[in-house]
């Protein structure tokens, strides 16, 4: 369908540069990282030198990429591994974005240059052991005590959690949910790596625990107002995932296509000549292409300032589902080789299970869309008639309940 014809020369150059980086620096090590459940944090400074952290911001000399180019960057990173894309998404969209959007000048000066260079790592603490899809009910609390805030609670499933130098932590206060910056080494703040994952093994996932953790009063993100600030932040990351999912799908598709052309079976013919194999490949390329046009339109809406949560939900839900289905089909085409890490397919298949669930589960995103089209949020306790009328007028309220994971 010549999707490339929609891209400018500059957008293609950016995509090709990141693709080359992934080919040369990520792919040669990623299977071993996956085997060892090791995040290649040594790549962070290189990612910083390429300006891949905070690439769509303009402050502090950041490149200010357009929305399509930024999406293509995420696509190419996830073509390598969902964990690498997650590392960049979290740093850029879930740490730098809230600091730039809700932070004080001092906070920006202190953290943004280090985060942009990849010499400092950040994480985003919203999800809790008991609250994933419903972050509004979080238990973590922050209490003001003189010139300090005192945090108590726990966060789970936190990408970069146990290696982060700074955590953006969301906690309930007397004035509603607010965001805080908690630095590594603060007394009462402990982080630990979560082990036993079968997915995103080349990415650090951690638990954060706060026990009477005292942070300076100025570490509150002054612009945060309620859980909506956290969800506004998540929307940025989800935008990247809409494109990233396609990257994973493309890698599986291309691996399957190449394999089908080479693999000879029955009368010396490549399996690519078999109708059942062709049907699988046709399904994959069709869905990937549809996904590309979907995110291209999403980029246009974002650039025009018209992107609504339900738009992001539609794209995240669809494209990650496409990636999940493509991983399955590619695995089938590869036969027994499909379960070996000699090929990237099974790693993508495992990774996509996380992506399917984090940043708003597939089902919750369906409900965000459902709430937008019906005006009736279905994932809260039954509403009064007055609430239903209000919800019909304000679909963003419905979207506000869909949190989960980082």
């Amino acid at each position: 369908m010549n999707f490339d014809s929609l891209l400018s020369g500059e957008e293609r150059l950016i995509r090709d540069t990141v693709r080359q980086f992934v080919d040369e620096r990520v792919k040669p090590i990623i299977e071993q990282c996956h085997r060892e459940a090791r995040a290649p944090m040594e790549l962070a400074p290189e990612l910083g030198d390429l300006n891949l952290f905070g690439a769509n911001f303009t402050e502090y000399g950041l490149p200010g990429l357009g929305d399509v180019a930024y999406g293509l960057v995420m696509q190419e990173l996830e073509r390598g591994d969902s964990g690498i894309r997650s590392m960049v998404s979290v740093q850029s969209s879930l740490v730098m974005y809230p600091i730039l959007t809700f932070g004080s000048q001092e906070q920006k000066d202190r953290f943004i240059p280090g985060l942009a260079s990849g010499r400092m790592i950040g994480c985003f603490g919203l999800t809790e052991p008991d609250f994933g899809s419903n972050p509004s009910a979080m238990r973590t609390r922050a209490r003001r005590d003189g010139d300090c805030w005192v945090l108590n609670g726990a966060k789970q499933w936190i990408t970069n959690g146990s290696v982060a130098d700074v955590a953006v932590v969301w906690a309930r206060t007397d004035e509603g949910i607010r965001g805080f910056l908690v630095e590594k080494g603060t007394e009462g703040f402990v982080s630990a790596e979560q082990h036993g994952k079968f997915s995103l093994r080349a990415s650090v996932t951690g638990e954060l625990s706060f026990q009477n953790c005292r942070i300076p009063a100025e570490n509150i993100l002054p612009g945060t107002r309620g859980v909506g600030s956290a969800l506004q932040t998540l929307n940025q990351a989800r935008y990247g995932i809409c494109w990233g999912g396609l990257g994973s799908a493309m890698e599986c598709y291309h691996t399957a296509l190449e394999y089908a052309r080479q693999r000879v079976q029955f009368a010396g013919q490549p399996i690519a000549s078999h109708q059942l194999v062709q049907e699988k490949l046709a399904w994959m390329i069709t869905e990937i292409t549809k996904g590309q046009f979907l995110v291209y339109q999403l980029a246009g809406l974002k650039t025009a300032g018209k992107m609504e949560p339900q738009h992001v939900s539609m794209c995240k839900r669809n494209n990650v589902w496409v990636a999940r289905e493509c991983a399955k089909l590619a695995r089938e085409i590869l036969g027994a080789n499909g379960i070996s890490d000699e090929y990237p397919v099974v790693r993508h298949m495992l990774n996509i299970e996380s992506v399917y669930t984090y940043e708003g589960t597939h089902d919750i995103h369906g409900l965000v869309i459902g709430a937008a089209v019906t005006g009736i949020p279905s994932f809260n306790p039954p509403m009064s008639r007055r609430q239903a009328r209000e919800a019909a007028d304000r679909p963003e309220l419905a979207a506000a309940a869909a949190g989960a994971g980082s």
Partner: protein, 270 residues
């Protein structure tokens, strides 16, 4: 101080090549185009030389990239600008198409002379045709010192000289001193070309890229492009597929290795 780098845009080596219907070239309608790998090393070397000059407190040399070819070549020039080159010159003219090394060398030499480059870097050979001829032609026309298969470069801009290492056969190296202006044909692997940063890529859009045709270059259209070429490609073909291979069916790794060694000895490789 001005350093010129000549680059060539070639099909990506991963491309699936198809012979064009004319039978005299490759069908270029569906290819990925990239900068030839030696030329990328030449670009990187120019960037490193410029950085070294700055590091020792000297003025940063201006870096100018040159390429001859159709409109698509602009993408290669933009990439060079994204990597950190200051400006680009695109030799684009219907009359410049279809040249051989001598015809292309004439056009490039005219462009380089017009820019008065103190040092010119090129790749040692291109990934597609691999003739390794164009840099020698340019050096001959410019009447400047020339070295091929350059493995290391030290620039002394104060004394306007170079100290370089050349690769010879049999693992030997040769160290040469050259006076500027000079032309160096860089061997692949001399450095590891950097990735263009996103900031560099966006800045590339604002850097000057000039297009020159035959009249702008001051070259006679009869001496460049197809008209100036003494060589005409009559036919190209792909090698016959699948002939000559031997499959070793070893029951164990040791047996297979033994059979492989026997084959290599029979074929007089060992």
């Amino acid at each position: 101080m001005r350093i010129g780098v000549c680059i060539k845009q070639v099909p990506d080596t991963d491309s699936h090549l198809r012979i064009a219907d004319s039978g005299r070239g490759v069908d270029d309608s569906n290819l990925n185009w990239v900068i030839s790998s030696c030329d990328l090393c030449a670009l990187e070397e120019a960037l490193l030389l410029a950085e070294a000059e700055v590091a020792r407190g000297a003025e940063r040399p201006e870096l100018v990239v040159f390429s001859l070819g159709p409109a698509r070549v602009e993408e290669a020039l933009r990439k060079a600008l994204a990597l950190g080159v200051d400006r680009a010159l695109h030799l684009v003219d219907e009359a410049l198409q279809g040249g051989d090394a001598i015809a292309d060398g004439r056009a490039l030499a005219a462009a380089l002379a017009g820019e008065r480059c103190d040092l010119v870097l090129t790749g040692a050979q291109s990934d597609d045709l691999g003739q390794a001829a164009t840099p020698a032609v340019i050096a001959a026309i410019l009447s400047c010192p020339y070295a091929w298969l350059v493995m290391a470069v030290e620039l002394d801009s104060r004394s306007k000289s170079l100290r370089i290492v050349r690769e010879l056969e049999g693992g030997m190296n040769e160290v040469l001193g050259l006076e500027l202006p000079a032309l160096l044909a860089i061997q692949a692997g001399i450095n590891r070309p950097r990735f263009a940063s996103l900031r560099g890529t966006l800045q590339a859009r604002k850097k000057p890229l000039r297009r020159e045709d035959c009249s702008g270059l001051g070259v006679d259209p009869g001496l460049v492009g197809a008209a100036g070429a003494g060589i005409e490609i009559e036919a190209v073909s792909l090698p016959p597929a699948g002939a000559g291979g031997v499959v070793i069916d070893g029951a164990s790794a040791e047996a297979a290795a033994g059979e492989l060694i026997a084959h290599l000895e029979r074929e007089a490789v060992l």
